[in-house]
Amino acid sequence: MPVYAEDWRGVLADPALCKIYADGVEKIDERIGSFLSFNAADSESAIGGKGSLDGIPVAVKDNIAVKGRPLTCGSKILENLIAPYTATAVERLQAAGASVVGKTNLDEFGMGSSTEHSALGKTVNPWDFDRVPGGSSGGSAAAVAAGLVPLALGSDTGGSVRQPASFCGIYGLKPTYGTVSRYGLTAYASSLEVIGAMSADIDLLQKAFTVMSAGKDERDQSSVDSDPPGSGEKRIKVLDIPEGVLDSAVAEAYADAAKALSEAGYTVESFALPSYDLVVPAYYTIATAEASANLARFNGIRYGYAPDYAENPVELMKLARHEGFGDEVKLRILLGTYVLRSGFQDQYYGRAQKVRTLIRKQLADLFQSADLLLMPVFPTQAFLYGDDGMDDYRQRVADVFTCLANLAGLPALSVPTGLSKGLPTGIQLMAPAFAEERLFAAARSLSKIYMPQLAPCALNPRSFS
């Protein structure tokens, strides 16, 4: 049974309903673990106006600042940090009537594809509690799939909105780079990432995007005014995938989706990406390089975790970072520092930026004769926790389909395509810059075949009164 935005209007405004809601969240989230902090009645978050998102509760990934609420980034180093300001994207949602109810779990600083790398809590997939929700915005995806909120914000650096959305059976939008302000998003890889949104309701998702992308932000000079190219001619190109790359369920869903789009009036052709093998190396080189600088600010001096004792400032910084960062974060900082070192920079970072240009050119060429690209989101469905799951290296390499859009700065949407073996499957659509409208239109076509649904455990706002 789908849940629509309309069902949520009025819940937060009524203290009695709000109490029922909060109790319901507490009960379900005991098992899911999607929120790191939750407070539906916090007045700070209810500031706001009236608008297209009136009364909509929204969950925000805990690497996005909401004033007065924690901003942990899933890391021990920021475990006690309270945000002193609010992200622009969140301010815009609030101004349109939405209320922040809680902050969601994530892979530490957004580095991971399973939310296993959170230092502060475990989030499970609402469809199967032995499986990961995906990541890094795993908490946000799980919260939506478990019906705890109709809308959640994530951040997408290499697929961190689309992949967990797909693992949890909901829509996940990565907007065109710069259309949504990054002000207030804790930086991991600045030139790649953008705040995105997740929902099971495509109309609500589009409204949220429209609100967040309403004009460039003075506080983010890399933000831009959207400049839509028009609705296009319904020509889709489908990425050829070599045998054996995709799990059978994913491969099947992928083929079915192409067929469904064709039946919905899209012309469908296949394509190959010549620099396919370069995507992951270029992406991780750039992402880790930027991360190594972005995470340098965490040093135990102005805020955040500090060791009990340090003899001198250098030791203070080293101990704060040693004790405050997890393994995956340390690894990426190490790699990023390495690829920027003099003597190595040309060979790694410099080369990756040129490869990035190459990939962008190839995509631009493809869009000369296509209005949308169809790709998988991830080679597998939600995988199992622990040793039976997927090791970190394989997870990174599996980002290939999603991080392509980040390298090119293009919008992409993961679309749920029903269940296979009791777990959600999904596909990904990519569009030229600012053509989010085409993504929504194609998703609506598919929704007639694959009606998105929430997990069986989901909270239903219609049951509150």
């Binding site: 600042a65 901003l71 920021l78 300001y85 804790t186 890399s222 190594s292 600010r297 040093n299 520092t337």
Partner: protein, 477 residues
């Protein structure tokens, strides 16, 4: 040091604080002297999620300096991250410029004293942000981030300076230049200007030697002393068959020597890369014309023009051009009709003394061109004597009123009426007939004494010219 044998190469890295209202990348106030950690916000404290927002005025002033130094201006300038950890640097990277600074390859014409005028090559001019301040207090260090994010402009010269004296003269010219442009106070003791130097020596004709960087010089004079000390030290090392090492040394102003701070290490690697948070900036016509509007006649050009155009001495020109405000006042006073040489004389002696005594700048003082011209006019018209004029000047400063009004209010105008003067002279004659007699008998010296008595009798207000003439007539009988 044997200057026949060795050649000295000195290059400078000069940092100036730009005069803006707000910081380089956030809207916090950029001001000295406020309580610690009051001009801070999430951006300049490096909070997660914050982003830099480039200050337009800082950008304009950066281009202005590059323009004034004859640099090739970047038509697509960009920022870069310079990565290193330091407790006073909130992000642990400094946003600076690397590949596309606002300007490159400039020339600054400078008057280097005994060496004459020479072009010093400018390597580049780039914008960046300052760090906070560390105050060491026993076993702890206190951090104040008010200065963090303050806009800085770094000017890097080629190693074209040859001695401590040249370097000091260059720095003074440079200070004058940035003050003329209004981009910075350029005070080394207050910290709005900093200068590090690299210096090497080598056998004449052999090119650059091993570069040593010198820091911690807090005035142009210390830069001169440090450069001369360092050149001697390096020559000493070479003369005794030793080898110089690439290192950073600090000037110790208490002992007048340089001391090793640290050797260059392999771990010094700033890992510069383009700042992804700031898109490249392409100055358009409107921007460049705003920069052009801020452009002024530069100090050296002004000095030459003043010397050529007006009848003043080189020393007077030197003093008048030192501050743009003084030069402007000078030229305005000339246009109001006063004689250039007289204005120059007043400016470089009496006015200068009052200013020094009061510790204020001419432009902030009650004296302006109109008042100075008026004062000189009063003397020229014979209404006051030069001596009274000095009192009037003091009163202009004390009361902030026009010279004419002061002279009127005080009744300081000279007595020029021949009738009054004749009467006064006759009274003096009546009181001292013996002296009058002596003068008439050829004791010319006593004439001065009589003049003194006339002045006394008129409270010093008798016009010396007219009184003198009448005195001579009366003496003839």
């Amino acid at each position: 040091m044997n200057t026949e044998k060795y050649e000295v190469f000195i290059g400078l890295e000069i940092h100036i604080h730009l005069k803006t209202e707000s910081k380089m990348f956030c809207s916090c106030r950029a001001r000295y002297g406020d309580d610690p950690n009051t001009n801070v916000c999430p951006v300049c404290l490096g909070y997660p999620g914050t982003l830099p927002q480039v200050n337009k005025k800082a950008m304009e002033l950066g281009y202005l300096v590059a323009r004034a130094l004859g640099c090739r201006l970047s038509m697509r300038t960009g920022f870069a991250r310079k990565n290193y950890f330091y407790p006073d640097m909130p992000k642990n990277y400094q946003i600076s410029q690397f590949e596309n600074p606002v300007g490159v390859e400039g020339l600054m014409k400078a008057d280097l004293g005994e060496s004459g005028t020479r072009d010093i090559r400018i390597h580049d001019v780039h914008l960046e942000e300052d760090a906070g301040k560390m105050i060491h207090a026993g076993d702890v260090t206190l951090l104040d981030f008010n200065r963090a994010g303050y806009p800085l402009l770094e000017i890097v010269t080629e190693p074209d300076l040859k001695s401590g004296e040249e370097t000091e003269a260059f720095l003074r010219d440079f200070q004058r230049l940035v003050r003329y442009l209004g981009v910075s106070d350029g005070n080394m003791d207050e910290g709005s200007m900093k200068c590090d130097a690299n210096i090497s020596i080598n056998l004449r004709g052999k090119g650059l030697g091993t570069k040593v960087e010198i820091k911690n010089m807090n005035s142009p004079r210390f830069v001169r002393l440090a450069m001369n000390y360092e050149a001697e030290r390096q020559a000493g090392v070479l003369d005794s068959g030793g080898e110089l090492v690439q290192e950073t040394r600090l000037w110790n102003e208490n002992r007048d020597i340089t001391e090793t701070m640290r050797r260059k290490e392999a771990a010094d690697d700033y890992r510069y890369f383009p700042e992804p948070d700031i898109p490249p900036f392409e100055p358009d016509e409107a921007f460049l014309s705003r920069v052009e509007q801020r452009m002024v006649e530069l100090p050296l050009a002004k000095k030459r023009r003043l010397t050529a155009e007006y009848d003043i001495t080189p020393e007077q020109a030197e003093f008048i051009h030192d501050e743009a405000g003084t030069a402007a006042l000078f030229e305005e006073a000339v246009s109001l009709g006063a004689k250039a040489r007289t204005i120059a004389a007043w400016l470089s002696s009496d006015i200068r003394k009052v200013l020094n005594r009061q510790g204020i700048a001419l432009t902030e003082s009650p004296l302006n061109a109109a008042r100075l011209a008026e004062l000189i006019g009063l003397i020229d018209e014979g209404l006051i004597s030069g001596k009274i004029a000095k009192n009037v000047l003091d009163e202009v400063f004390a009361r902030n009123e026009d010279p004419k009004k002061i002279v009127e209010d005080e009744g300081w105008s000279q007595i020029t009426d021949p009738k009054i003067l004749t009467e006064a002279i006759r009274v003096v004659f009546a009181s001292h007939p013996d002296v009058v007699e002596a003068v008439r008998n050829g004791e010319a010296k006593q004439r001065g004494w009589l003049m003194g008595q006339i002045m006394k009798a008129t409270d010093g207000k008798a016009s010396p010219d007219i009184a003198g003439r009448i005195l001579d007539e009366e003496l003839k009988g």
